[in-house]
């Protein structure tokens, strides 16, 4: 179970939290919980728990990041100039993350679960959606992610 789902879980949690280490820690926590109370159907259970943990963790992290935001902004300015591709890649990552962050919780989670190969039935079960509503949720989530990303890009290129 661990080997089968670990990478997928970490990827989802990484996309959700934006922090590799935190994603790994949360994935570990998910498996600890799975061990304490072995689920009968591990895959949706694991991902549902992971999303719950990420949600809690996000709330905690949000409080801290507000304080850190200014600091890191200063840091970025003083950071050594990186290679152009590196800068570009980082800008794109940030833009995607920002777009993802602007989605509603449900849209974001549906999108992330879908990216891990979940079917509509599983997504619906994990997020408490009717199977028929998953397609609508995903349609909205995809459009908003793309549009949000484009809008962010446009803003980014405009002179500030």
């Amino acid at each position: 179970m661990y080997a089968q789902h670990y990478e997928s879980l970490v990827r989802l949690l990484y996309r959700r939290t934006g922090d590799r280490d935190r994603a790994e820690d949360l994935a570990q926590e998910v498996f600890v919980r799975a061990l304490e109370a072995p689920p009968t159907n591990p895959r949706p259970w694991l991902f549902a728990v992971a999303l719950n943990l990420a949600r809690d963790d996000g709330r905690r992290a949000a409080r801290q990041s507000r304080k850190l935001a200014q600091y890191s902004a200063e840091q970025e300015q003083t950071a050594a100039p990186a290679a152009d591709e590196e800068v570009e890649r980082r800008e794109k990552t940030d833009a995607v993350r920002a777009a993802l962050a602007r989605l509603s919780e449900k849209d974001r989670e549906a999108l992330l679960l879908k990216a891990e190969g979940f079917g509509y039935g599983e997504i619906g079960a994990a997020l408490g959606l009717a199977p028929g509503a998953v397609g609508t949720t995903l349609a909205r989530a995809r459009r908003r992610l793309v549009e949000g990303y484009r809008a962010g890009e446009k803003r980014g290129h405009e002179p500030r």
Partner: protein, 444 residues
């Protein structure tokens, strides 16, 4: 068929529609340009969204779980590869798995001494397709959550040894001090009995018992009683510094006692008690001299006489109180002052006993009573930080700028603080500490 909604279009793209539904939708798309356009859009969004999410794939090179799975299990069953995904950096195939971040709970279990039950990833957790293991009966849930009970099963010998050595050192120091006062007596035992043992007794006071034991057979004297008057005398004289603050009769009594005690064994026939009596008299001598009439210039005594004879708080007025506090009398703004008193510091716990305390009594509008004690600490001329730190009497338990909140046995709160100018204050009242703290802001 009416137009197809975006959800259905996405379901079609995601392969979530069954054959019949899919065929129906496709037929509609072929006929309806509007829906066909939206289908194109949905397709584009789907791919773009997937691409964007792909950007957020963890950057670190990974060992694909497929590889990890495909790799045959190495070693005995218990040594399955633990971390299919290396946390960071490239991992050569076959290299042992890299670090796995420990969760707090796992560490707690480690501390509990149950590392073999570390629940982070059980080494023999089933692979895909394997049946779940039956729960280990000895691995109860309680063991996973050891925070509910004390986890100190294994004594920490290093800490215990350290604590023991500290206790031993204090004990030895205490004994050494004790024997030091009676040393002359002990030494004199040695002098008369066996001069050789004298130096031992004097130099290693703690071992004096042994020295005495060695000397005893030669001297044929009961050595133990000889030590007793000495140490008793020392005990009586011990609190001399405290007594020196101006109470004559007890001190004289003490000297008399010491002499008497020391003399008693002498009359009983123990010859070497005499030096002890002499010593006791010697030590006590300077004190009666200081206490003698005419020697009242000694500071402590002068203070004692200036103070009211009975150590109680005496009513006074604000001016007098302010003068006692070098002109700085702080009051609680907005409260009715009931009385101003001055009394010795010895009556106020936590105050400097050698300085007077000004006590302001207040009545709150609600009827609760407040008491504000103040003291002016003797200021060091040298205002350097070190000098000021030295100047703070250790009895205060406060440094400059410190605030201390305590709750008394009857629920009364007390806030003590020492400001930077050496003004000590204690606000006490039968009210919650928070209310008391709030009042601090009104003290001017």
């Amino acid at each position: 068929m009416s137009h197809v909604d975006d959800g259905t279009l996405n379901a079609l793209l995601d392969g979530e529609l069954d054959e019949a539904e899919a065929a129906e939708v496709r037929a509609h798309l072929a006929a309806c340009t509007e829906c066909a356009a939206r289908f194109q859009d949905a397709q584009r969004f789907l791919h773009e969204a997937a691409d964007l999410l792909g950007v957020l794939t963890p950057a670190a090179p990974e060992v694909r779980p497929a590889e990890a799975l495909a790799r045959p299990e190495r070693g005995p069953a218990g040594v399955a590869p633990l971390a299919p995904v290396a946390p960071a950096g490239p991992t050569a195939p076959g290299e042992p798995p890299r670090r796995i971040p420990k969760t707090a709970r796992e560490i707690a279990v480690d501390l509990d001494g149950a590392t073999h039950k570390s629940p982070a990833i059980a080494p023999n957790f089933p692979r895909a397709g394997e049946p779940l293991p039956a729960p280990d009966p000895s691995f109860s849930r309680r063991e996973v959550l050891p925070l509910n009970r004390p986890a100190y099963r294994r004594p920490d010998w290093a800490t215990l040894a350290w604590a023991a050595s500290v206790v031993l050192a204090i004990g030895v120091g205490y004994l050494a001090n004790e024997v030091k006062h009676g040393r002359t007596t002990v030494a004199s035992v040695g002098e008369e009995a066996a001069p050789a043992s004298d130096s031992v007794a004097a130099r290693v006071p703690v071992r004096s018992a042994a020295a005495r034991a060695a000397a005893a057979p030669a001297a044929r004297q009961p050595a133990a009683p000889a030590k007793d008057p000495g140490s008793l005398a020392a005990n009586v004289l011990g609190p001399k510094p405290a007594a020196a603050r101006g109470r004559k009769p007890p001190r004289r009594q003490a000297v008399a006692d010491a002499t008497q005690l020391a003399a008693a064994p002498a009359t009983a026939g123990v010859a070497m008690a005499a030096p002890a009596a002499e010593l006791a008299a010697d030590r006590a001598a300077p004190s009666p001299a200081a206490a003698a009439p005419g020697a009242a210039g000694v500071l402590g005594l002068a203070r004692a006489q200036a103070r009211p004879a009975a150590p109680t708080f005496q009513l006074t007025n604000v001016d007098e109180a302010a003068a006692r506090l070098s002109g700085t009398l702080l009051t609680v703004e907005g409260l009715a002052l009931e009385s101003v008193k001055i009394g010795p510091g010895t009556l106020v716990p936590g105050a400097v006993p050698t300085e007077d305390v000004v006590r302001l009594a207040y009545a709150e509008p609600s009827g609760r009573r407040l008491q504000l004690d103040q003291q002016r600490l003797p200021q060091a001329r040298d205002t350097s930080r070190e000098a000021r730190a030295r100047a703070v009497p250790p009895t205060l338990g406060l440094g400059y700028g410190d605030t201390l909140v305590t709750i008394g046995p009857a629920g009364e709160a007390r806030v003590r603080w020492l400001d930077r100018s050496g003004h000590w204050m204690s606000l006490m009242g039968n009210m919650p500490a928070d209310s008391l703290r709030a009042l601090l802001a009104r003290i001017r």
